[in-house]
Symmetry: C2
Subunit: 397 residues, 2 copies
């Protein structure tokens, strides 16, 4: 493969200021860590020189992000500075993304999904506990979350409709394919660095966030509804969680930082972010169903920030590991068109969504394709386009 002047590959949203990381191979060979420039992938090791620091060369000469995640924040900064310089000024072999095989960009250690959107939590409360307060008493005091299945997080785009036990009016559950298969549009955070044992304060927590990725937390609402008391979601979620194949470095999103929503309930000191640098992110997100945009949730409306989630996760002394992955749960804004799940968009299935082709939708049908998109907004303009998270439902026996 001949070398290409890398600066010429830049496209809108995937330029020098972005450089997301992924894992690519030619199908037969071993996967390698790569950066994306426009619609091309360039191996990170092809951009480093023998006189570059050994730690960075070691992290670059890897199948995926795992070594870089372990190396910690200083290495993330150093490698990014170096890549930006080289991409601006050098040529290197580049392959069209459509010509490579994409692999999972990192090995997931533990995965914790939170419930950080006030509008989402309120919608769910109204749907399932009508006549009661929309938020449970603990919701504004801590970021509620649960551990999900790390082993079924992937970048694959075919999602088999799960089977399981579904509630029935007579109280005896029936076994079969989910009848209420849903999406959850989420923003995931990839963590790294070597954390000391013991709790992290908000500043320390922020230093463990390596990158950001769009995520679809596929959810079988009927299976979930039957199983979830009293220990939370399990089979209704564990069949598959999709992430986009390219991880946006947090440092690419500095200009999109905004203040989170104002806190109307006093927080315990380990969660109190009033004196901290603002850690909301102005990401405009989009849910596309079969080519039609059906929702535009604003991530900036999310109540709990990533550092708050991490400070909470570790306040009991639990350790972090490189590759830990957290997400904030469904992103929903205050408007109907800003809801990040079909549960909310169709109001529990009671108000079917009318699509442009005249059909209606409550939950997902076999063959439905859902693409999640997002752009980061800074100074009124978007220079960063998050990689798409793309999935299609297939029937399963």
């Amino acid at each position: 493969m001949s070398a290409t002047a890398l600066s010429e590959l830049v496209t809108d949203g995937f330029g020098l200021d972005h450089l997301p990381y992924g894992s690519v191979s030619d199908g037969d060979g071993a996967p390698h860590l790569a950066v994306r420039i426009g619609d091309h992938a360039v191996l990170v090791r092809d951009l480093l020189d023998s006189e570059d620091p050994a730690e960075l060369r070691d992290a670059a000469d890897a199948p995926n992000l795992d070594r870089l995640l372990a190396a910690g924040e200083d290495a993330w900064t150093a490698l990014r500075a170096l890549l930006r310089d080289r991409v601006a000024h050098r040529s290197a072999p580049a392959r069209a993304i459509t010509d490579v095989v994409l692999h999972m960009p990192f090995t997931v250690a533990d995965y914790v999904d939170f419930y950080a959107s006030e509008h989402h939590a309120s919608n769910v409360g109204k749907l399932f506990r009508p006549g009661q307060p929309a938020l449970l008493p603990n919701w504004k005091h801590l970021p509620v979350g649960y551990h999900g299945r790390a082993g079924t997080i992937g970048i694959g785009s075919e999602i088999a409709r799960p089977h399981g036990l579904r509630p029935e009016p007579d109280g005896v559950p029936s076994f079969g394919p989910s009848r209420r298969l849903d999406i959850e549009l989420e923003v995931g955070f990839v963590l790294g660095g070597s954390a000391p044992e013991g709790r992290l304060n908000l500043d320390e927590a922020a230093g463990h966030v390596f990158g950001v990725v769009l995520m679809n937390d596929w959810s079988a609402r009927d299976i979930q509804a039957y199983e979830y008391v009293p220990l939370g979601p399990n089979l209704g979620k564990s069949f598959a969680t999709s992430i986009a194949p390219w991880i946006t470095p947090l440092q690419a999103l500095e200009a999109a930082r905004v203040a989170p929503p104002s806190r109307d309930t006093p927080l315990s000191s380990y969660l109190d972010d009033e004196a901290s640098a603002p850690w909301g992110l102005d990401l405009l997100l989009e849910v596309e169903l079969n080519g039609e945009v059906v929702a535009r949730p604003p991530f900036s409306s999310t109540y709990w920030t990533a550092p708050q989630m991490i400070a909470h996760m570790t306040v009991n002394g639990a350790s972090l590991r490189p590759g830990d992955f957290i997400a904030g749960g469904t992103v929903s804004g205050p408007e109907r068109g800003q809801r990040g799940s079909f549960l909310e968009l169709s109001w529990g299935g009671e108000e079917p969504l009318r699509l442009a082709d005249g059909s209606t939708r409550t939950f997902l049908e076999d063959g439905d394709r859902v693409v999640l998109r997002g752009v980061a907004v800074a100074d009124g303009e978007s220079h960063i386009r998050l990689a798409e998270c793309d999935g299609r439902i297939i029937a399963s026996a």
Copy 2:
């Protein structure tokens, strides 16, 4: 180190019919996979010959069980047969367990904790939902479970009392050390083998169970009570989960197989074990607090079996990985002295346990030491002693 005739090392409970696996080092050097004979550790690689199958030599020449877990059931059987023969007839270097450093015996992939004891679930129901049916409607239709934190499972014996948000009468939680720190006596199952995608039936599921280990699912009841709606336990559990450092091969427990309790509710076909080989285990367990036995829970009273939990985990298409770890939740029998948690033993703290030294106990105090023990019973005799799970509570700042 000189070689010892291994058959002379055998003690009651850790003989030729047991041979649990662990990971040991001399502290400075690398850890190695080992078997336990009596109170001694012998490296597995010291028992294999160059003409033994390459797959077994590869699994033996490893720091821990990870490669053997991946190799699958046939390899487990072959290696065990070979080790039994060699231990019976050979000499090899052996080190007293007190002279080696013990390491985590395998890398935990995903960890799922179930709620499989009917007596435990009923006790919890009576405590938290007085006046209502003790079991929730779903309990006898599926094994309820949730994903726990894999990264904080360990063999360490010092457990720092966790801090967190505790419920208060005025509705505003307070931050501080848990006031209701508890144990959960559990039996864990280490899984392995390469599973095809898609659901496993009960027989296939059974073939993925490599071994059994005593486990203490330390639980901060106050933190858990405040956080757990609606997504289940998180910080109340994630600070630490202890397992014993030696994994008993399932094949050592064949003679302890018993039928599980009779099922009074018809089961969906993927969970129906009426025609299956009995998969209960006759394990007599013991909770010792500061040298005094305070409970003797019988594992044979557990309603859901390991194959049922695995068949359930995969019925939605979720894949297994070698190193997946599941447990059945607190083991409690029908009698008061058979309860596997202080929550139950002290009936929610209302009926303090009177100890032999005249003191009382509701939940754990700093300095308390809890040792979990178990023996497998076959034909009225116990030949297998599960390795102890030992932990002590220390104060934390």
